[in-house]
């Protein structure tokens, strides 16, 4: 049974709707409509290179094509690999950085700056910097290898090393965001817990395992979720470092979509690929979110 609202409640509700309307209209224009258009386009043939074909509705044909598209599955596999390696990698490195930044340094700004700089840097910049690091002739990494007496490596033109180099760049670039999230989490842990543990006889290492890690779990999950969402969309860094090469060896889903849509101007199929990626990341995110709904400080009852 619907409860009757008083006139005050009704007028408050009207005001609420009026205040929400502009934001909703804006979001509809820039988010909902493009998504709707994307889904509509994924069911059509829409090649800018062949405009005489018009844009016929072709049902699930694009989707059927995608299922058998080997390059799509390769790009998906590469993306998955980046997720598997760089998400835990960035969060682990970020945890180390956060623990470091949480130490009582007398001068705090160099640590904070070191933490913020990779985060503030545009992704393409980071990609270009690391492309230079791993460059064969003048790259920092090969120079270092030669200096310690090892042969230089063709980092960016071999499948394995190229994947490794890109992962290093992504982890470096994204760990600072994880570190910021984790640092915020660290600072909410009351100091008295460590004092109690100290009196209880826990060593520094035990304090880390018994207090820091469990207390940080919510922040770690948040960092993992955000990192995963961005990792699924990995584009800029491999684009700048290898452009997907050698061959398609380092190509991600986002790069393949970009190539299909922008380079080959196949908007119909490109939209289909984008819808598939959207669905995949939505599923992954919802799995994560289900886990976070459990309050770690609540009991088993």
């Amino acid at each position: 049974m619907a409860t009757r609202l008083s006139s005050l409640e009704r007028s408050e509700r009207r005001l609420g709707i009026a205040l929400l309307a502009p934001a909703f209209a804006l979001l509809s224009g820039v988010v909902l409509y493009p998504i709707y258009n994307l889904i509509r386009m994924s069911f059509s043939e829409n090649k800018l290179t062949e405009p005489w074909l018009a844009k016929p509705w072709i049902g699930f044909e694009n989707y059927a094509k995608a299922m058998g598209d080997e390059r799509l599955w390769e790009a998906t596999w590469h993306t998955l690999l980046y997720v598997i390696v760089t998400v835990p990698g960035a969060v682990a490195l970020g945890l180390g950085l956060a623990l470091l930044a949480n130490q009582p340094f007398r001068v705090k700004w160099p640590v904070r700056l070191g933490l913020l700089l990779p985060w503030a840097l545009p992704l393409v910049f980071a990609g270009l910097i690391f492309r230079w690091f791993f460059e064969y002739q003048q790259g920092l990494v090969n120079n270092a290898l030669i200096w310690i007496g090892l042969p230089p490596v063709n980092w960016l033109t071999q499948e394995g090393p190229a994947f490794f180099a890109i992962c290093v760049a992504i982890i470096w670039k994204t760990s600072s965001f994880a570190a910021l999230v984790l640092l915020a989490g660290l600072q909410t842990i009351p100091k008295s817990l460590y004092e109690a543990a100290e009196v209880d006889g826990a060593s520094k290492w035990q304090q880390f395992w018994e207090i820091t890690l469990p207390m940080l779990k919510p922040a770690i999950i948040v960092a993992l979720i955000f990192r995963t969402i961005t990792a699924i969309q990995t584009f800029d860094i491999p684009k700048a470092m290898t452009d997907g090469g050698p061959g398609n060896a380092t190509e991600t889903l986002a790069m393949y979509i970009h190539k299909t849509t922008i380079d080959s101007l196949d908007f119909g199929y490109g939209s289909t690929l984008a819808v598939l990626m959207f669905v995949a990341s939505a599923i992954l995110t919802s799995i994560y979110l289900r886990h976070t709904r459990r309050d770690p400080s609540a009991g088993r009852h």
Partner: protein
Amino acid sequence: MAAVTIRKVRKVFGKVEVIHGVDLTFQDGEFVVLVGPSGCGKSTLLRMIAGLESVTDGAIDIGGVVINDFAPRDRDIAMVFQDYALYPHKSVYDNMGFGLKMRGASPSEIAERVKEAADVLQISHLLDRRPGQLSGGQRQRVAMGRAIVRRPRVFLFDEPLSNLDAQLRAEVRIEIKKLHQRFGTTIIYVTHDQVEAMTLADRIAVLRGGVLEQFATPDAIYNKPASKFVAGFMGSPPMSFARLTASADGKTLAMPSGTVLPARGGLVMGGLSGDKSYDAGFRPEHVKLGADALPGGVNTTARVEILEPLGAETLALLTVGGAVLTGRFPPQAGVKSGDEVTVSLGAADMHLFDTETGRALVA
């Protein structure tokens, strides 16, 4: 169990010295309360005993061993923190057993000791819960339980009742006293609440500005305060003061209005200097309604400014002879604000303090 000795302990934070050479000796099994206003150094002193703050200078000795350089875990102490510092992600059981687990006790030993402590504190039914599911009073018990299971030589309490409401505070206070009677372990207890200090302590150490003002039994603190500060801090309501002037021969004292009081005769060591001012302190029970209400009292008139009925008694804020004093009146005295009444001033129980040093003149 162990005795604790603090010898000439100083503490400096940066350039600020917060504890200026404190000497204290606590007997084995004694319940000692460190009390004082905020910033007096009582918590710092406790944290130095716990090993959570370093000792700048001097020595702290537990059971005959100087433990200045011992890590907290090697001091065989347990501490109850002001915010309880329970591990929020662990069950009550794991919270209480944590110290034993860290010391490598076997699971069966942990189970036995946790169960025992939980029985004593009547929290056996809460062992599966997390701290977030407990009330303030229950958390407080768990924090005490965590200290008890370890069976340390010394218990340290850092304002453990300050987060509880008044009624619960009174209950837990009794609980703590029972625990001390049961285990007989040395307890060092920090509070800013003089009622807690008076009710719990075997001996009270009153600190002020990093200096020990007095270290004595509650009875001595109340009846023979060593300084005007101790006299004004301990007791509820606190002692009230009047500035009196000694006569030329030092035998009598005059209120600001001229009312003359005897100078407590031979009790004053070395007598009073003529024409000098003194701060006289009166406990509320020594300002009584009615002529000759106190043996050896001096009758004088007073104006009732404010009345605070407490049920069993009524506190009266009075203007007496140019000074403002608090008196304890019977509840049905029939007095109103603004009345002129006759009160008996307990001159024999008057405390005298030097106006400059604040030290008590009466031994």
